[in-house]
């Protein structure tokens, strides 16, 4: 079965919404893909290092948010949007330990499923502090990226 990974999905979305960040995608996204919970905590905590800069919120890269949103979307797809957990012990263990899925099977998603993907991405992006318009664009880009994966394009 063909699968789509968080890494590939995030990269495809960055390519669509912020192509200028593609050059630094790998090192920037790596912490958010490897240890999303820890990296998110660090992202929310803000910067107050001694002799640091204390960078404000005005300027941010899109890549970290895309990586985190992509992770949530892949986990949701893998789990069937919170429906009964089926398909083995591994998934149950992952749910219990609150770990995220790293890939989801690619199939012909229904319109309803794609709408749920979009809603999940939108909620998650807004929770990460992304403004409404930008979050909408990001959610749309994720749906498009999934469709491109399904069609085997890109």
């Amino acid at each position: 079965m063909t699968t789509v990974s968080v890494h590939d999905l995030a990269k495809r979305v960055v390519e669509a919404v912020a192509p200028s960040e593609l050059a630094s995608f790998e090192p920037v996204a790596a912490p958010y893909l490897d240890h999303p919970a820890r990296a998110e905590r660090r992202l929310r905590r803000g910067d107050d290092d001694p002799l640091g800069f204390g960078l404000g919120d005005a300027v941010e890269m899109v890549t970290p948010v895309v990586a985190l949103v992509s992770g949530s979307v892949i986990t949701a797809l893998s789990d069937g949007f919170g429906e009964a957990v089926k398909g083995g012990v591994g998934k149950v263990f992952r749910k219990l330990t609150k770990r995220r899925a790293v890939e989801a099977p690619v199939r012909a998603w229904s319109e309803d499923e794609l709408a749920k993907v979009r809603a999940t991405a939108l909620v998650r992006a807004k929770a990460l502090g992304v403004r409404e318009a930008k979050a909408e664009a990001l959610a749309d880009a994720i749906v498009v990226a999934l469709l491109l994966e399904r069609d085997g394009r890109g």
Partner: protein, 652 residues
């Protein structure tokens, strides 16, 4: 382009440097106390070499901690040159070259640093660590590049200003408090288990450790916030201000006094109006005053074991008083310029209240003296009033001095001229003020019933130095105003004439009273009170009778072998063996010869030391005594009574 600031902010002396000096005084006096205590437990006692060795114990964990932190950061980062961020590396290389640093930093990528960037390492090997998100900004377009350059310039400004050294010092200082605190709590615990200490004593000790740790942490954060503002100003001086404003944002932060960075809103307003940075927060003055109060107590307990009580008190007052006065002065002058420029009134009374409060609080939280059963600052009304009045007068004078110069130099263009005379003047007046106050406090700590305090304070408060202080206060306050009206030569001649006149007046009204000192052989000693009273003073060559100071004996004495002319000086000192106070008399060379001859003839007999017709001591001479010094000891002699007797002998 930002319009030029009205005030030359960079001309003003930093108020964080004396704050660090006061923190260092508080922490290092604790470290020294711990080292002396540990050395005292060793075979051989607290010798200089032993104490120096023991200094490693409280200091080494802090230094090792700093080293480990740098090592850990190095381990978790990789050289930027080995990463895909080639363009960012090239930009940083250019900016480093522009900054003309003495030591080029090792620029590294911290893979988990996100959008953070900071400088670390040691002054000899600085590191600039940057996260991938920040480095990525360099290639995300024009706006990202501008922000990236602003951040790098800001970090390089930290290195250029030597902030790494300051931060290393402050980190080691605050990391030393837990180590010294451990020894304090250990002492308190041992007192609880083996001595008569109570659980409340342990709690008080723990509370003092916690408060000192908090003070150190708050000072460190205040220092860092001040340096961030300076780095911002430096970054805009050589780069694009818009990029910096973009990077810092404009969000205010909650509890800004707890953070290491000021909030975005505060940074943006400081960039728009750098004069805002001159307004020193009263909380910062409070921190410095608390550190000074604690250092006064600890330093006094250290010095009193090494020197005579009066010298220890004066030295303590000067050592802590000078940096404290300068700290207050820098804060007040900065605030005076800022407030006057903005059309506000300087908060002089508030500054004085904060200074007074800090000294009192600091005087009650000193670690080691409290752990060893010593006393904090005595809370008597006369003393507290003196501290309050002195704080107020000092702050009023500093404000008046600042305002007097402000009228001639409102933009602070010639502030160097002002500082050239105002700083030494503040050091003298502040050192003298705290020497007087602390001498009084020290006497009350050592012996609350002593009347010697009054005489010592009187000596300090009505001598030659006070005349100088009055002249300094008058000249620095009125000087700038008179400068344009009175020629300089006339002012100098007038000042010298005034000084001479005041000195003559002082000399005329103070009479020197020299006591009569004699050392005679005791021919007979009869127990009991002195009846009839001693005869009028006979000539030194004649025999005489005299009474013991406590009236327990009266003596028939032989002719005087030594007299006042043989005495060089006398001082109250603490006996290192018994811990009690004695008066140490130093003889002239002729006196020492006569003293040796007298004690040789008086072996197994008694000699009487007669001061103003009273036998202060009548010791048995067990063997001939050679040397120019001897000690007068009395049962229950305190520092106050020892000092009073020493003063009588030397005629003070």
């Amino acid at each position: 382009m930002r319009p030029p600031s009205r005030l030359e902010v960079r001309s003003f002396p930093s108020d964080t440097t004396p704050l660090l000096v006061l923190l260092a005084a508080m922490v290092l006096s604790n470290v020294l106390f711990a080292a002396i205590w540990l050395a005292g437990l060793d075979y051989g006692g607290a010798t200089v070499g032993n104490v120096l060795t023991k200094l490693e114990i409280p200091l080494s964990p802090a230094l090792a901690g700093w080293g480990l932190l740098v090592w850990w950061r190095l381990r978790r980062s990789i050289p930027l040159a080995t990463t895909p961020f080639t363009e960012a590396a090239a930009v940083i290389g250019r900016l480093v070259a522009e900054a003309r640093l003495k030591t080029r930093p090792d620029v590294r990528l911290g893979p988990r640093l996100g959008r953070r960037a900071f400088v670390t390492g040691t002054p000899g090997r600085p590191l600039l660590l940057m996260g991938p998100e920040l480095l990525g900004l360099c290639t995300t377009g024009e706006r990202g590049r501008v922000v990236f350059e602003a951040v790098v310039r800001h970090e390089l400004a930290h290195l250029r200003a030597g902030d790494l050294t300051g931060y290393q010092v402050v980190t080691v200082l605050r990391a030393t408090i837990p180590t010294t605190g451990f020894f304090v709590l250990l002492t308190a615990w041992l007192g609880l288990v083996y001595d008569d200490a109570s659980a409340a004593d342990v709690l008080v000790a723990a509370g003092c450790v916690a408060v000192q740790a908090l003070i150190a942490e708050l000072v460190a954060r205040a220092y860092l916030r001040a340096r961030e503002h300076q780095a911002d100003l430096h970054a805009t001086r050589y780069g694009d201000e818009e990029g910096l404003l973009d990077a810092i944002g404009d969000a205010p932060v909650a509890r800004s006094w707890l953070r290491r960075h000021p909030g975005g809103a505060a940074r943006a307003s400081a960039l728009a109006d750098p004069g805002r940075l001159l307004a020193t927060a009263p909380a910062q003055l409070l921190l410095g005053a608390i550190a000074a109060g604690s250092a006064l107590i600890t330093l006094h307990h250290l010095l009193v074991n090494a020197d005579s009580p009066e010298n220890a008190a004066v030295l303590t007052g000067v050592l802590v008083g000078v940096p404290l006065a300068l700290f207050a002065a820098f804060g007040i002058w900065r605030a005076t310029w800022r407030a006057t420029t903005a059309g506000e009134r300087p908060r002089t009374v508030l500054s004085a209240a904060v200074l007074f409060m800090g000294l009192v609080v600091g005087g009650r939280i000193a670690l080691f003296p409290i752990a060893f059963g010593g006393k904090g600052l005595p809370l008597t009304w006369p003393l507290l009033t003196a501290y309050a009045v002195a704080s107020l007068l000092l702050c009023l004078w500093l404000t008046a001095m600042g305002r007097a110069w402000y009228r001639h130099d409102p933009r602070a263009r010639r502030l160097r001229v002002f500082l050239a005379y105002a700083v030494p003047a503040t050091a003298i007046v502040g050192g003298w003020t705290f020497a007087v106050l602390w001498t009084w406090s020290a006497h009350l700590i050592d012996d609350p019933a002593s009347t010697a305090a009054r005489s010592t304070v009187r000596d300090l408060a009505f001598g030659v130095i006070p005349v100088l202080v009055v002249l300094i206060v008058a000249a620095t306050t009125a000087g700038p105003a008179l400068r344009s009206r009175v020629p300089l030569a006339t002012a100098i001649v007038g000042a010298l004439a005034a000084a001479g006149g005041l000195y003559w007046l002082h000399d005329a009204v103070t009479t020197t009273r020299v006591s009569t000192v004699e050392i005679r052989e005791v021919l007979t000693a009869t127990p009991g009170g002195c009846t009839p009273p001693p005869t009028p003073r006979p000539a030194p060559t004649e025999r005489r009778t005299a009474c013991a100071a406590d009236g327990s004996e009266h003596y028939d004495l032989g002719p005087a072998a030594l007299t006042t002319v043989d005495v060089l000086t006398a001082a109250a000192v603490q006996d290192t063996g018994s811990g009690s106070f004695v008066v140490e008399v130093t003889l002239t060379p002729d006196g020492a010869t006569r003293w040796a001859a007298l004690t040789e003839t008086l072996v197994n007999k008694r000699a009487a030391i007669v001061v103003d017709d009273v036998v202060e001591s009548a010791p048995y001479i067990a063997e001939p005594l050679r040397g120019a010094q001897f000690q007068i000891s009395q049962p229950g002699m305190t520092s106050g009574t020892a000092l009073a007797l020493a003063d009588r002998i030397t005629g003070r």
